[in-house]
């Protein structure tokens, strides 16, 4: 059972302050604030359409919050373009697989090294001169470490599009890990997996957190896994935060129970009111 006492005082690596996101009249997120501490496994749960993926998209830069801001590692990233966030130390996997289907598994993971590689197209085209070969070999070594860790050695040369679902999920994780992120965002890493694959994935996530020192933000529907491996859990419902805290405490929260069982709740009651903006 993970402990959080040691890091209770550590500074937050990610902080969302009053984040709201609106698409026209649809309020995807309403004034959500939370902080993820360095070295934590933090899960976001909630019913379908609660705004979990929207929140992750705000952090990864896909969406820009309508109001509020996001701070990462001490600086504001609300308006930083998506492509710069890899270098800052944010990696993510997608809910619906987003691998480069025609590339080999190896190349997919090497794309994760993009922001760490220095040789562009000119040194690249003259492979032997200009150090491109040397650089590729050095990074290949690190990528092979990740391949060993995630146990995908046997498919490293296979085109990613031909793999089974569980393997693709693992390759996607490998690609995100190859970025060497400080914070890794996992959008439903266990969706559609069988029990054994889920256990493997849970082990990988714990190892990433404990041995590789990555802070993990995870969206997951499997309550058993969430309660087992998370240090803290945040619950969203209709785009509002309704609870946050240790897994057991959150599970016992009456708002959460109502959100999942579908009863009326005063916290989310005002979603029916028209948007004034």
């Amino acid at each position: 059972m993970p402990t959080i006492h040691a890091m209770a005082e550590t500074a937050p690596i990610l902080e969302a302050r009053n984040v709201s996101l609106r698409f026209g009249g649809v309020r995807a997120l309403t004034e959500v604030s939370f902080a993820i501490r360095q070295g934590e496994v933090f899960s976001i749960i909630g019913p379908n359409g609660a705004g979990k993926t929207s929140m992750v998209n705000c952090i990864s830069g896909r969406y820009r919050p309508t109001e509020g801001g996001i701070w990462f590692d001490g600086s504001e990233i609300t308006r930083v373009p998506v492509r710069r966030r890899a270098a800052l130390g944010i990696g993510r996997t997608f809910q619906n697989l987003a691998l480069f289907g025609h590339m080999s598994v190896l190349d997919n993971i090497m794309v994760g090294r993009h922001h760490l590689l220095r040789r562009g197209f000119l040194p690249g085209m003259v492979w032997w001169l200009g150090g491109a070969q040397r650089e590729e070999i050095a990074h290949r070594r690190e990528v092979e470490e990740i391949i060993d860790f995630l146990e995908i050695q046997h498919v490293r040369k296979a085109p990613a599009g031909t793999l089974s679902y569980g393997l693709r999920k693992r390759v996607e994780l490998a690609r995100a890990v190859a970025l060497r992120p400080k914070l890794i965002l996992l959008d439903e890493p266990m969706a559609g997996m069988n029990l054994e694959e889920k256990e493997d994935m849970a082990r990988f996530i714990l190892d990433l957190n404990e041995e590789w020192g990555m802070t993990v933000l995870m969206i997951e529907h499997d309550m058993g896994v969430v309660m087992d491996i998370s240090h803290r859990v945040m619950v969203l419902d209709f785009g509002r935060k309704i609870a946050e805290g240790a897994p057991d405490a959150v599970l016992a929260d009456p708002h959460v129970k109502r959100a999942y069982l579908g009863e009326a709740d005063e916290v989310v009651r005002d979603v029916d009111e028209p948007v004034t903006a």
């Binding site: 270098a87 480069f100 025609h102 794309v111 994760g112 590689l117 690249g124 003259v126 492979w127 040369k157």
Partner: protein, 355 residues
Amino acid sequence: MATLTPAGDFRTSYRADMTIFPTRGSRLALWLGLALVAAAPLALGRYELGLLINIGIMGIAALGLNILVGFTGQISIGHAAFFGFGAFASAYAHEAWHIPVALCIPLAGIATALIGLVFGAPAARLKGLYLAIATLAAQFILEDFFARAQWFTGGVAGRITEPFALFGWVADREESFLYVVLAWIILMYLGAANLLRTRDGRALIAVRDHYLSAEMMGINLAYYRTLSFGIASFYAGIAGALYAHYLLFVSVEAFNILFSIQFLGMVIIGGLGSVMGSLMGAAFMVLLPEVVQAGADALAGGAIDRALKLGASISFLREMAVGAAIILFLIFEPDGLAHRWRLIKAYWKLYPFSH
């Protein structure tokens, strides 16, 4: 799909695992092929050598288009205009500034790449049909420029060019120019193969396969879409310059939209996203009319010839054969000759246990 390395061929270093030609058989085929082409002037006539040179020149241009269309997933129907720009640029640089032809060719490539970057700017934001129309505009703007800029192209009269010369060796005949094209082919194909096993090549494919996650990996979409256009134009410029110094005459009307579509045909027939496929597609497109011609000649005087007047309609037949080939490939082998070649190799490797 398993990778088809022979049993017992174990890679013991990452370096050995990254080679372009992975097996001994493929390396042997490479050297044998190069030796055969190098020895071709001993055995072939000028006409056949001319065909080889054409395959080489078209192969370079097709490879450029394949990097853009096949690897980056963008589209261009103005490739012939860039090809033409390279041809005129090289001819003009030699005549106006007396730069040696050997230097004019790479300079023409760079100049064309710059022009390509200007016209490729919309490629940073556009995709698919919209980009197709934007490149169509490039085709017509450049064609119009060729027709009006007499100082650059010689106008409708065309422009005479000088043969390739290096340290007193003049490549003014098929027998000698073949080696110039061969050298450029090797350079350009190695360059592309190397590009694709390094950072920027992977980024191009990532942009094609899944641009959202490519962006998340830190890839600048606009940069790579534009870069791909620049590289494609560079290849077209080099090929155009070689073409100019091979024919020793460039005229405006050659670089029309039909020629652009032929390049697209080469890339589709050869195989989108395959380096060697570009050369196969170019060879197919250059040789197809010859085969049609040979077929018509063989039937000459017979009943079919008299009924259909093959001799009189040969030019239509050639065009129709090209169109039919593209349609048939799209239906039966959309991955092109390169894919078919892989299947044939796998068949022999696994024979008689094909499953």
